[in-house]
């Protein structure tokens, strides 16, 4: 989230789309309700189903799963056409005025792809996706280098051409207007199924906060995996970000683009390098092309790229400090300036190692074993059958869980015969792990708040803490390397492991290590503040690139200081009343609650809304002060025109995302899901996201309407159950005893079945059997002139649980249906909006 849960109480308008917070984040949902009750805020719910969020919304639009970009693009068009834009914000705080190179082409001008597309490799040459300008030579700040980036990759210009009148036909704003001029209400209706009038109502309501140029109000966009789980998921979020920049909502209290994380610590997992292509703190992983520490740093450290009269903080220029401190944290004294801070110890990522790829590799025999902790890989999918088949080929599987789950029992998944079972050679180790209440540690919530929790219960029986199991495996491996040597023992032997209990590292010590400490006496030249060697660092501003600091994750620096564990703070006070709660837990970065909060002020440093003052320029003190920690260079005078988006080399928000920022386009374009009931109405010859690749194993099949798969299916979770876990708890099972499929009354009538009857939902990959829930909350949609039936099904049941063991359940997994295909930027599978058919059982 750019903002946070509590901050939602400051909003005037909410677009909740691709998420169902009332059901999946009920505790956080108190803040949208608070905004309704205290500010008269409105909720617009856009969802494939009328959900419990829709039940408390002021306007509901039933959208076809996978058509979100069309809807949001339509709203952008509406905002521009009706002059409901934040003009000053747009000009000064975004790259709207930047001029794009002449060679750049929009998909509307070509055959549905941006300039530079190579159909053979299904990838883009992104050199035309750049600003016009001069100079440059620094790295680009793309978050995801696809595999190895060639050293000759194009760079952003140092001095960017611009037109503050926004009239230049090649300026970002004009390109944006042109690109989304095609997203007319009629087109939105054709693609999304939302009737034109209803869409216009929603667009009018959402943009009403910028009526008559008013800048006081703020609106927020709230989303979750309903957006991410598409083969163009990142681009949906980009569309939302553009809309929010156009409306001047980013950095504002009650504004922003807010991702709701689906588990208590998903944010923490991503921050701590849960993804293969980043190191902690989103440092980009080295690739084989990065032959030395310096080469790597040069590639990943951006240099400013901006209009000459403006200033850009370009905070990412500190990347070397973060990287050196990280390597010092990993390898301690073994990391020296001479050996490039032990850069060679770091694995070099040569290709895609994302979730889906991992299973594909196991299926193809290159991955031989798996350690599965805290997740139920078979059930999570996508394409559970492929995952089961992959595990059958593995040598070993280690599952650390609190219950026997589908993954650890993949070898007796329904449908498997005794003979087949005998063929499986995989050795399965089941390790009883600690439950969440049986361990301490911090959760990082969706709002980036780190919140420490204490152990509530002892672990039962032989169950062990997850970190103890991992530590013991590590110690054993280290012992083996010590004893037997090996090809390259250094990274293992030199890894820092200074925990008071090496075989079960206390998590507080791990957090201290993550926060970082001084390795030599340090002094801040400005304030003369001193830090002694060995002391905890107060924050990432102290990090050095000379090896005198260590820090496991720069964005978490400040979470465990000499003052103690900041994440354990529980001071509920909120002096500003804006929901900042500075003494409650600790949020990255630097305990800042709203990111880019400098944008909450106009160019002169005065808050857009005097009643919601977050930060402001104090002329007397000549610095930025506020109720929140300013996300800015505190002494940068407003007249210097430094951009508020300090992590971008441009210093401004990216309406146009240049170069390698995204694999599939600098502007989001509507593409159909891989399994779609229609051709893309914008460009039927280019229906899908052009860079999305299909997988090739026999288990990877993709259905089409021609094969009889015409029903658009989406999956989701319920309030009553938590993933594949609570089906083992009688309380939860009592609340939702059996799996079901939600279908419209019209569809049930047409097919001749009633609620409670068992039906079979089949995709080309598998079948799912459950009882029908016939409801008015899903209605047939008219999509491009065709009547399309949407259905939805919760994912929670499988073949292991109370209902399953009692035989109430059909023992099928929802993800037997879902396709293996991923978003090209985040590699998130397309769980939403695939094709199925429905039959009576």
């Amino acid at each position: 989230m750019t903002n946070g849960w509590v901050d939602m109480k400051n909003t005037d308008m909410m677009l909740i789309m691709g998420g169902n917070p009332a059901e999946n984040h009920p505790c956080g949902f108190k803040w949208p309700i608070e905004a309704k009750r205290t500010r008269g805020a409105k909720i617009i719910s856009v969802d494939p189903r009328f959900t419990r969020t829709s039940a408390v919304a002021d306007l509901f639009c039933q959208i076809r799963a996978g058509s979100d970009i069309a809807f949001l693009g339509g709203v952008i068009r509406y905002a521009i056409e009706n002059n409901r834009i934040a003009k000053d914000y747009l000009v000064n705080f975004t790259n709207a005025a930047f001029i794009v190179r002449p060679g750049f082409q929009l998909p509307g001008d070509t055959d549905g792809v941006f300039s530079g597309f190579d159909a053979k490799t299904q990838s883009y040459d992104r050199s035309t996706w750049n600003y016009a300008g001069t100079g440059g030579g620094g790295g680009d700040s793309s978050p995801h280098p696809p595999g190895g980036t060639s050293p000759a990759a194009p760079k952003l210009p140092e001095k960017v051409e611009f037109d503050l009148s926004l009239q230049n036909p090649n300026c970002v704003f004009q390109l944006l207007r042109k690109h989304y001029s095609r997203y007319t209400p009629e087109m939105v209706e054709r693609i999304t199924g939302i009737p034109k009038e209803q869409f216009l109502k929603a667009a009018d309501l959402y943009t009403s906060i910028r009526k008559d140029g008013d800048m006081k109000k703020a609106s927020t966009i709230i989303y979750a995996v309903g957006w991410t789980q598409h083969s163009f998921g990142t681009q949906i979020i980009r569309t939302a970000a553009i809309l929010q920049l156009v409306l001047g909502n980013v950095g504002r209290a009650g504004g922003g683009v807010n991702a709701l994380r689906g588990h208590s610590n998903i944010q923490g997992a991503t921050d701590m390098a849960g993804l293969f292509d980043s190191l902690p703190g989103y440092l980009k992983v080295p690739t084989p092309a990065d032959t030395s520490f310096d080469a790597w740093i040069k590639r990943i450290t951006p240099t400013p790229s901006k209009p000459a009269p403006w200033d850009s903080f370009n905070y990412s220029s500190n990347t070397p400090k973060f990287a050196v401190s990280y390597l010092k944290a990993l390898y301690g004294d073994a990391a020296t300036k001479q050996n490039g801070w032990a850069f060679d110890y770091l694995p070099k990522v040569d290709r895609n190692y994302s979730w889906v790829q991992m299973w594909d590799d196991m299926y193809n025999g290159t991955v031989k074993g798996m350690l599965a902790f805290g997740m139920n890989g078979v059930a999570i999918g996508p394409n559970s059958k492929k995952n089961i088949d992959a595990l059958k080929k593995a040598d070993f599987l280690v599952v650390g869980e609190i219950y026997p789950d589908e993954t650890s029992e993949f070898w007796k998944s329904p449908g498997i015969t005794t003979d087949e079972m005998k063929q499986i050679q995989t050795t399965v180790y089941r390790l009883p792990c600690a439950g969440f209440a049986e361990k301490d540690g911090s959760f990082t919530n969706s709002a980036r708040w780190l919140l420490w929790k204490n152990t509530a219960l002892p672990t039962p029986g032989d169950a062990r803490l997850d970190q103890a199991i991992v530590a013991q495996i590590f110690l054993k491996i280290r012992e083996l390397y010590k004893k037997e040597g090996g090809k390259f023992p250094d990274p293992v032997l030199n890894l820092t492991w200074n925990y008071s209990n090496p075989s079960s590292p206390p998590l507080a010590e791990v957090l201290k290590e993550v926060n970082g400490k001084a390795l030599a006496d340090l002094e801040d030249p400005a304030t003369k503040q001193q830090i002694k060697a060995g002391q905890q660092l107060p924050g990432f501003a102290w990090l050095k690139d000379d090896g005198t600091t260590s820090c496991g994750n720069w964005i978490y620096s400040g979470s465990f200081t000499e003052a103690g564990n900041q994440t354990a703070r529980r001071d509920p006070s909120d002096p500003s009343g804006l929901g900042v709660h500075p003494g409650w837990g600790w949020s990255w970065p630097a305990n800042r609650r709203v990111l880019y909060n400098r944008a909450s002020c106009d160019v002169d440093g005065k808050p857009w809304d005097p009643s919601r003052k977050q930060v402001w320029w104090n002329e007397g003190q000549q610095k930025w002060v506020g109720n929140d920690v300013p996300d800015f260079k505190v002494d940068s005078k407003p007249k210097d025109h430094m951009g508020p988006f300090i992590m971008n080399p441009e210093g401004v928000g990216r309406i146009f995302a240049p170069l390698s920022a995204f694999a599939d386009g600098p502007f989001p374009e509507h593409y159909e899901p891989i399994e779609s009931p229609i051709d893309n109405p914008f460009h039927p010859q280019q229906t899908h996201n052009p860079v999305v690749k299909r997988f090739k194993t026999p288990d990877d099949k993709y259905g089409t309407p021609k094969d009889g798969y015409t029903v658009v299916c989406t999956t989701y979770r319920l309030t009553e159950l938590y993933h594949y876990w609570t089906k083992n708890n009688p309380m939860n099972v009592q609340l939702v005893p059996e799996p079901f499929v939600e279908i419209s009354v019209e569809m049930a009538n047409e097919m001749g079945f009633t609620g409670g009857e068992k039906i079979k939902v089949s995709s080309i990959r598998g079948d799912y059997i459950a009882k029908a829930m016939v409801t008015k909350r899903i209605k047939p949609l008219m999509i491009d002139g065709k009547k399309v039936y949407p259905i939805g099904l919760p994912i929670h049941q499988g073949y292991r649980g109370i209902a399953e063991d009692e035989g109430k359940d059909a023992r099928t997994l929802a993800n037997l249906l879902t396709p293996t295909v991923v978003d090209p930027n985040a590699y998130t599978p397309e769980f939403k909006g695939f094709l199925v058919k429905v039959e009576k059982v």
Binding site: P26, K30, R37, G40, R52, D58, Q734, G756, M773, T775
Partner: protein, 298 residues
């Protein structure tokens, strides 16, 4: 005697005065349920089960998100889900937390024949005292909200206590504590009425619900649980909330006129017969029909 006794202002089937009636300076407590901000998360259902240590029961899929069709003896708190289409075709998914309404004039208590099986505390909470319950189920008949539920094992009737145990310690009921959105409030009846009316006004003025209002039915003397409804004129849409609940007429007849008539008739009959005997005596006073049996002494 303990304060507990003094806190009782009404007792079922009780002959004579009630110890706490008018002797305590206590305000009416009240639970406010704002159905317009309920998200049907069922936290209140779980909290109720947890606080009261109620055993789990079996449920079956019933084409709804609602956990079960009705509350049970071991399930006192149930959110009722109802898909409702307004006249202009707008779909509403109404969710109403159903539980004992804690009527000021409780039908269960009126119908109960067992001394002390149902009491009403001076704070308005209507509480079943299972020790005194004889399991006749008359309370089930007396309740206009279908709340008391019979346990065939224990032969007793159970329902929501409004967490009388928590409330007496100054805590809010468990459901209130667990509600994530703040759709549930707890406090004095006056405060809750104010809060409810304020919210209803906001709904009418700002949120396009011209018929929004507060459900506090006068037919049962007002309730210790009040609702804010989007449309107070059609409470039935919220899973059968009665529009104008009363103690059933027959219960009133039975406990009212019939009782007095019956008592009068019984006492009158006894007196009448006695007077008849005094006036006319037996039909045959002498021993005229007495013939001695064999072996009997004359």
């Amino acid at each position: 005697m303990s304060q507990e006794t003094l806190r009782i202002q009404k007792i079922s089937a009780h002959a004579g005065a009630v110890p706490g009636e008018g002797t305590q300076r206590e305000f009416q407590v009240c639970k406010l349920i704002d159905t317009t901000t309920c998200i049907g998360c069922k936290a209140c259902e779980v909290a109720c089960m947890e606080w009261n240590d109620l055993p789990f029961g079996q449920t079956v899929f019933d084409n709804t998100y609602q956990t079960m069709p009705d509350t049970r003896w071991n399930y006192w708190n149930l959110i009722r889900f109802n898909e409702h289409e307004t006249e202009d075709g707008t779909l509403m998914w109404l969710m109403r937390k159903d539980q004992c309404m804690h009527c000021a004039d409780p039908g269960c208590l009126a119908a109960c024949p067992s001394d002390g099986a149902i009491v009403q505390y001076t704070n308005g909470i209507v509480d079943f005292q299972q020790a005194n319950c004889i399991g006749c189920g008359y309370c089930i008949t007396g309740c206009p909200f279908n709340i008391p539920k019979f346990n065939s094992e224990t032969k007793r009737v159970y329902k929501c206590t409004l967490c009388a145990d928590r409330v007496s310690e100054g805590l809010e009921p468990a459901c209130i504590k667990s509600c994530p959105t703040g759709c549930l409030h707890f406090g004095s009846k006056d405060d809750m009425k104010y809060l409810a009316e304020t919210r209803a006004k906001q709904l009418r003025d700002h949120y396009n619900f011209p018929k929004a209002g507060v459900y506090d039915p006068p037919g049962v003397g007002g309730t210790g649980v009040i609702y804010v409804l989007h449309d107070v004129t059609e409470p039935e849409n919220y899973g059968g909330l009665p529009k104008d609940p009363h103690i059933p007429l027959t219960v009133k007849l039975w406990k009212g006129p019939l009782k007095w008539l019956g008592n009068l008739a019984m006492v009158g009959g006894l007196i009448g017969l006695f007077v008849h005997y005094l006036r006319f005596g037996p039909k045959s006073r002498d021993e005229e029909f007495e013939t001695k049996r064999e072996g009997e002494q004359p």
